[in-house]
């Protein structure tokens, strides 16, 4: 019989209970989560206000409530795209956290292990042939999943070894990218340019239909994500130690990896290959929380925040020219990746 809530034996963590559910929460994670959420809210309000017509934050809030002269601009023109950016970033953040935990490698992310390149290859095929634009999303999704399946298959040897997984991913990513280049060179100029923009990743012109495609699977996968948040705790342990604790290491790694890949492939199918968000969001969240592996919920919010901010800058910095959001995330992510590499060198 349990009456009082037991205290968790590790400093900085609490046991939180709600009905039949009992969770262990890092207090620092909870704080970081709320902070990132607040920053995201600020970024969204700011992004809703900035553009060809400037709308003050107060008016943005009023417009969101359906009041004032800016309802059309804020609710109909700007909000849908920002919701997509938010959703894309959230999915990529989750994907980065899952893939990095599974591979025990801070560099693992959908754009490093071939998911983005697979999706990009499939999208390029659609754009350089007579297939209609309606096929773009489904093809990109399948392309991303196919590349990931190839990576899983190639790295499979008596189970799924963490190191092999990343190396095979890099190989598949490079090969797929080369194939894509061949297609682009062979395509006519306009198709090629469209493909280039798609490959860079952009949320321009997207809206609620895209957001629905992103958010419905997220809601469906919520129980799996709740499980994953806990299951990731054993991925930092030696495989043998984890096995000794009764964990089916291979199954767990496979399931976490597949969820990570599916989330990324979905995001990329709607917005193109937005680079670095998955990698940076997960590492940023991990550093803020000071955990030994990326925290899932914080990575999700960090991904959303990064993408919304990057999209805000991308569409306003060189106005009226709109950069694809992926160009900006790459510009920001590249130096960060370098810093990460330099810092990790002993």
């Amino acid at each position: 019989m349990r009456t009082a809530m037991p205290s968790y034996p590790v400093a900085g963590r609490s046991v939180v209970s709600a009905g039949p559910l009992t969770f262990v929460v890092r207090r620092r994670s909870a704080g970081v989560f709320l902070l990132l959420l607040a920053l995201t809210l600020v970024a969204v309000v700011l992004s809703l206000g900035v553009g060809s017509t400037f709308v003050a934050p107060v008016d943005v809030v009023r417009a969101l409530a359906g009041d004032g002269p800016f309802t059309l601009v804020v609710q109909d023109l700007r909000l849908p795209r920002i919701v997509v950016a938010l959703a894309v970033g959230t999915l990529l953040g989750l994907s980065g956290a899952l893939l990095q935990a599974v591979s025990r490698n801070p560099l693992a992310s959908p754009d490093v292990i071939g998911v983005s390149q697979g999706a990009g290859f499939a999208a390029t095929i659609v754009m350089s042939t007579d297939l209609g634009a309606a096929w773009l999303g489904p093809f990109a999704l399948l392309g991303g999943l196919a590349a990931a399946t190839l990576v899983f298959t190639l790295s499979w040897r008596y189970g799924l070894a963490a190191r092999r997984f990343v190396l095979c991913g890099i190989a598949v990513a490079l090969a797929t990218k080369a194939l894509t280049e061949i297609f682009i060179v062979g395509a006519d100029a306009i198709d090629g340019q469209r493909a280039q923009i798609w490959l860079a990743g952009s949320v321009a012109g997207t809206g609620y239909p895209e957001a629905r495609i992103l958010l419905i699977p997220l809601v469906v996968l919520l129980p799996v994500l709740l499980w994953a948040g806990r299951a990731m705790d054993t991925t930092a342990l030696d495989d043998e130690v984890a096995r000794g604790l009764g964990v089916r290491v291979t199954n767990r790694r496979l399931l976490l990896g597949v969820v990570g890949v599916v989330l990324a492939a979905l995001a990329i199918s709607q917005a193109g290959a937005v680079d670095f968000v998955a990698l940076v969001a997960a590492q940023l969240a991990r550093r803020l929380v000071r955990a030994e592996r990326p925290p899932l919920a914080c990575s999700a919010v960090a991904g959303g925040l990064l993408t919304v901010v990057a999209d805000l800058v991308a569409r306003t910095a060189f106005a009226p020219v709109q950069l694809p959001v992926g160009v900006l995330t790459a510009v920001l992510g590249g130096p960060y990746l370098l810093w990460l590499l330099v810092r990790r060198t002993p």
């Binding site: 037991p6 054993t234 043998e240």
Partner: protein, 276 residues
């Protein structure tokens, strides 16, 4: 360095000794069989030490008994049942294993690592309970780590770190504990510290303890039951004073020398021949 260990009543419930055995067991890697057709019965509730020269299959045997390796033929048994047929999570509540030199996750604190021993009792929707807290506190106290619970494991000495890993397996609250060379890379004082702890866990706690050791003198000093292996076979087994002899030394290890009673414990002590 000596550490004060409180002699705690170990848990609330009485432990049931676990019988581990191998029946016509064959294990190997790739195309090569390391162990072939091995039959072995390990005494329940005893401190068993497996010894033998390098590549004799002692680690392979231990890892198979801990279901870290799957048999090619025959079976490993726990209380007469096929161990590899048990749900791994349920097995983790009866038997814990400490693999050889596990890598410590970056930045993990002592209590954090020990708390992970509760994994086999947890579900994602029920991540912690009072019994989990009690088991972790008990494991920390038994290993004398309560005072350093909030320190980073990486910052500890090798001996302390090994105690943290043992504490993690203790938090698993199992009747049997299997350890693969738990004293490797430790200096002599820390080796003795770890072995004393294992003996206490066996004597006071009633756990079945099975360890692979390299040091023959330590094996004789601590074991109730010695298993001597060579080329994947069990050459001899029994109490150390029945098993360890100059003949064993020569036949199994190819080493000349004498076996004399230890001046402190009376257990057999190996003294190799004078250097050439």
């Amino acid at each position: 360095m000596t550490t004060e260990h409180p002699s705690l009543p170990d848990g609330g419930e009485t432990r049931s000794p676990v019988r581990l055995a191998a029946r016509e067991l064959s294990v190997g890697y790739g195309n090569r069989l390391i162990i072939e057709g091995l039959d072995l019965e390990l005494p329940a509730g005893a401190f068993t030490v497996v010894i033998g020269p390098n590549a004799c299959g002692k680690s392979t045997l231990l890892r198979t008994l801990a279901r870290l390796l799957a048999p090619r033929g025959g079976a490993a048994l726990i209380d007469g049942e096929d161990l590899h047929a048990q749900p791994t999570r349920e097995l983790a509540r009866r038997l814990s294993v400490l693999p050889q030199s596990p890598v410590t996750p970056e930045g993990v604190t002592v209590a954090d690592l020990v708390a992970r021993g509760r994994q086999p009792y947890q579900r994602w929707f029920r991540q912690w309970g009072a019994e989990d807290s009690a088991a972790v506190e008990r494991a920390l106290a038994l290993t004398g780590l309560t005072d350093v619970r909030d320190q980073s494991v990486e910052a500890l000495s090798g001996g302390q770190r090994q105690r943290v890993w043992i504490a993690m397996t203790l938090a698993q609250d199992t009747d049997a504990l299997l350890l693969d060379e738990p004293t490797t890379y430790l200096d002599l004082a820390h080796q003795v510290e770890v072995l004393d702890l294992l003996r206490r866990l066996n004597r006071d706690g009633g756990r079945t303890v099975i360890a692979v050791l390299h040091d023959l003198n330590q094996a004789c000093r601590y074991a109730d039951h010695l298993v001597v292996m060579k080329d994947g076979r069990v050459v001899d087994q029994g109490p150390p004073d029945k098993v360890m002899s100059a003949e064993t030394l020569a036949d199994v290890f190819g080493l000349g020398g004498v076996v004399v009673p230890c001046p402190v414990t009376g257990a057999p002590m190996v003294v190799p021949d004078a250097p050439a």
